[in-house]
């Protein structure tokens, strides 16, 4: 039963929501509805306890049909929350979804104003604005866009690998771009994982190998995304492949060149977190995927000074080394994108009182992991810089986290990570182990049990944040207050391990700009909604996986990565995405072909029709920002759903009512 033809006289239904007490607490919902009934073109009003609930929506559906409504105003929560729900509801009744206007009387009224009179008055005016605007809404048909059945995944840590495998196993193609020479990310650096004490590499390597070999995954290691254009379903991505100076198809990963390199063991290895050395030609770690050598352009003598005995070339049997390799650029088109760029550790040298970067034996969590790791610089022996087995080790929690002067947030997993390190230290050395903590946060599955186990292993827990570390002879004195005893303690130890405060990678700002994502206050990528949509972003078709969205341990990262993969798959399996029909359109007869809109368009989506002497919008490229409509001097561009008439109607709705208010 299709309702009346939209273009006839507007018949507006106004639905005002209680939202339980969220709105009703400070806004007199009944009064607002009463007032709405007096407004022009309003033929039906109704209030509702929970408009977004099924019964709530059912009420509206019934009203639309019974009262032949052709315009709907819903005064409730923010349109960014449920506008999509209401549009789907209108669609269900056959009414075009864009003949709707939402008045935000919760986030912008009831939750922020305490005075009931003022809040109710403001709610009335926002409803009046919506009622003034909605008659001017025109039906708009969302555009369908084909979704390319492929995904770009940025970042090859456990998050990127998990998402890649989920999508590849579902039969869609994945382009996995990893900045480092090998995938594996931070997890590859770990020795054991908590709480199961699995060997990190044992559970990660199989997934790395799968990802490296999967026929549906094209791996671009040692590469970065240069730029992204287009929109969901049709992202054109330009990838920069940094030159390895090693032919990947020829290199067998035997490592002879790395042994022959003149600078062998002379350069600090990033993978070993500066605890071990590598040559200019190197393979980051034995289980690297792809297992190929790479030559470091900043240190290799030939590449920097142009002269070297090039022992690597002589050592390489198959002749894989090629110093003439250049940067390569590859263009691909993908339907969806998943960002899995992970995290970095906070640079503790910004806190001089802990001596990080000054005293040899003050290390951070990942550096200590490398000491514990069998393929690490010390083959798993926990020893001080000068090779001594430590008699006492102190682990300091919350350094660089939960601190207004550095990072106010808690990095969530460093308590558990430090507990695990303490266990490993207790297991591998006779040393006395101390842990200086504020609140030991062990909330995950099996975490509290692990904490009890570590306590049981004789680790001394001191409830008090480590305040400073001072070198005295060959001992490091950790000073803190044991707040449970109310005593200041000074504990001499041989090694201090600072818990890992997690921060976004240094180049996150650049990545955010390339993918047009904004960032939350803590600097990580901002999710579409912290509670309901943690793996989505504001850019449709771009998803987040892992710690790039905020500190996460491995189980949460894997779950989050699968969530992102699932959402990408749901888009790709649908094959189509609806693009909001909010696009600009040039009114040809009004256009004087001055081209100001062409210059103003951020997406270069407007062209000039030379013969007809007027501009026109390429609708597929238009993203609906409206900059052109504002730039056009003769207002010859109509911005669908945000036309000048509609915005002015909204203003008149507000200010018209206000002047009345003054007269009263």
């Amino acid at each position: 039963m299709t309702p009346t033809h939209e273009s006839e006289k507007p018949r507006i239904g106004v639905f005002v929501c209680y939202c339980g007490s969220n709105i009703a607490a400070t806004v007199d919902v009944e009064k607002v509805a009463e007032y709405a009934a007096t407004l022009p073109n309003v033929v039906f009003t109704q209030t509702n306890k929970y408009t977004c609930s099924d019964p709530g929506q059912e009420e509206i559906r019934k009203a639309i049909i019974e009262h032949k409504l052709n315009r709907v105003v819903i005064a409730a929560c923010s349109p960014r929350m449920h506008e999509v729900t209401w549009r789907r509801l209108l669609q269900g009744t056959g009414l075009n979804p864009y003949l709707l206007q939402v008045a935000n009387i919760r986030e912008h009224v009831s939750w922020v104003h305490q005075d009931r009179g003022e809040a109710t008055q403001k709610a009335k005016e926002l409803v009046a604005a919506a009622v003034e605007r909605v008659p001017l809404h025109e039906p708009l048909e969302p555009r369908q866009v084909k979704i390319a059945p492929s995904t770009l995944i940025v970042g090859g840590g456990i998050a990127g690998i998990q998402a890649a495998l989920d999508i590849a196993n579902a039969g869609y193609h994945v382009y996995l771009v990893e900045k480092q020479p090998s995938i594996g990310g931070n997890m590859a650096k770990l020795d054991k994982t908590f709480p199961t004490l699995d060997c990190a590499m044992c559970i990660l390597a199989p997934k790395m190998v799968d990802a490296g070999r999967h026929e549906n995954i094209t791996l671009f290691s040692y590469s970065e995304v240069e730029s992204v254009e287009g929109h969901v379903g049709q992202f054109r991505v330009r990838i920069k492949r940094k030159p390895r100076y090693v032919k990947e198809d020829v290199c067998t990963g035997c490592g002879l060149c790395t042994q022959a390199c003149v600078l062998k063991d002379r350069i600090l290895s990033e993978f070993e977190m500066g605890m071990g050395k590598r040559g200019a030609a190197y393979i980051p770690f034995p289980q690297a995927v792809p297992l190929k050598a790479v030559i470091d352009p900043e240190h290799c003598l030939l590449l920097t000074r142009g002269k070297c005995s090039m022992k690597c070339i002589k050592a390489c049997g198959p002749g894989a080394i090629d110093f003439k390799q250049q940067e390569e650029f590859i263009e691909i088109e993908v339907g969806t994108i998943i960002l899995a760029t992970g995290f970095e550790l906070y640079d503790m040298s910004a806190l001089p009182q802990y001596g990080y970067g000054r005293y040899d034996n003050v290390v951070d969590g990942l550096q200590f992991e490398r000491l514990c790791n069998a393929s690490g610089p010390t083959e798993g022996r926990i020893v001080t810089k000068d090779g001594r087995v430590p008699e006492a080790i102190a682990f300091l929690h919350c350094i660089g986290s939960r601190d207004e002067n550095t990072n106010p947030y808690c990095s969530q997993l460093c308590c558990m990570h430090t507990l695990k390190l303490a266990h490993l230290a207790r297991e591998k050395t006779p040393a006395r182990i101390y842990e200086f903590y504020i609140d030991l946060r062990a909330g995950g599955k099996g975490y509290e049990e692990f904490y009890k186990r570590v306590q049981h292993e004789g680790i001394h827990f001191i409830r008090g944040k480590g305040s400073e570390v001072v070198q005295d002879g060959d001992k490091l004195i950790v000073r803190a207050e044991d707040t449970l005893l109310g005593k200041v303690v000074e504990v001499p130890v041989d090694m201090v391990v600072l818990a890992l405060g997690m921060v976004p990678p240094k180049d996150i700002e650049n990545i955010a700009r390339i993918f047009n994502i904004n960032r939350s206050r803590d600097g990580f990528f901002m999710e579409a909604h912290p509670k309901l949509r943690p793996a989505e972003t504001n850019v449709e078709g771009v998803f987040l996986a892992g710690a790039c969205q905020g500190p996460k341990d491995i189980p949460a990262t894997v779950a989050h990565a699968s969530a992102a993969a699932a959402q990408a798959l749901s888009l790709m399996s649908r094959g189509q995405a609806t693009i909001e029909p909010i696009i600009a359109e040039v009114i040809a007869e009004k256009c004087s072909a001055c081209g100001e809109c062409i210059v103003a368009c951020p997406f270069k989506a407007i062209r000039m029709d030379e013969e007809a002497r007027h501009a026109y919008v390429v609708s597929a490229m238009c993203k609906g920002c409206g900059t052109c409509a504002a730039a056009c001097p003769s207002k010859a561009i109509k911005m669908a759903h945000f036309t000048d008439q509609q915005l002015i109607a909204e203003i008149e709705g507000i200010l018209g009512r206000m002047s009345e208010y003054e007269l009263a």
């Binding site: 919760r106 901002m526 915005l647």
Partner: protein, 148 residues
């Protein structure tokens, strides 16, 4: 058409403020101020636009002409714009309009442009408080302009 009853006799002068907020950053920031239950004066009425680049000088003048005592335009920080650089145009149009208002003898402080990200709920509330007091001090737009 009934008039909304006001339970106060002649109310003290409450400025009428129109806020043009961009959907992706400042509008989300205003929502965050709501979910964080911050409080700020109720004088601002928010009009949602897709991008601050949508706000033409003519639209701002129209808001004043319709009786707004203050107009504030809030957009994404430069570099954060969901539409790459829609806000670059805003950063020229609104300040130049302020200059024109000042030259024409209209208090430029009635118009303000700020960048507010989706994570800056507190900043939004502070800006609204400040701007409301600024406009309250300037008095009704009727003193400088024929409205309605």
């Amino acid at each position: 058409m009934s008039l909304p009853e006001s339970n106060v006799q002649q109310p003290p002068y409450e400025p009428k403020i129109i806020g043009f907020l961009c959907n992706w950053c400042s509008y989300a920031g205003a929502d965050l101020a709501g979910t964080s239950r911050l409080s700020y004066p109720p004088n601002i009425r928010i009009v949602r636009v897709q991008c601050s680049g949508r706000v033409s000088p003519e639209l701002v003048l129209k808001a004043f002409h319709e009786g707004a005592d203050g107009v504030i335009v809030l957009g994404c920080h430069i570099g954060d714009c969901h539409y790459i650089d829609g806000n670059h145009r805003t950063s020229k149009r609104i300040p130049m309009l302020r200059q024109l208002l000042a030259y024409a003898g209209i208090e430029p402080d009635r118009l303000r442009l700020e960048w507010v990200s989706a994570a800056e709920g507190e900043r939004f509330a502070t800006i609204v408080k400040e701007f409301t007091e600024t406009v309250r001090a300037l008095g009704p737009i009727k003193q400088v302009m024929v409205t309605g």
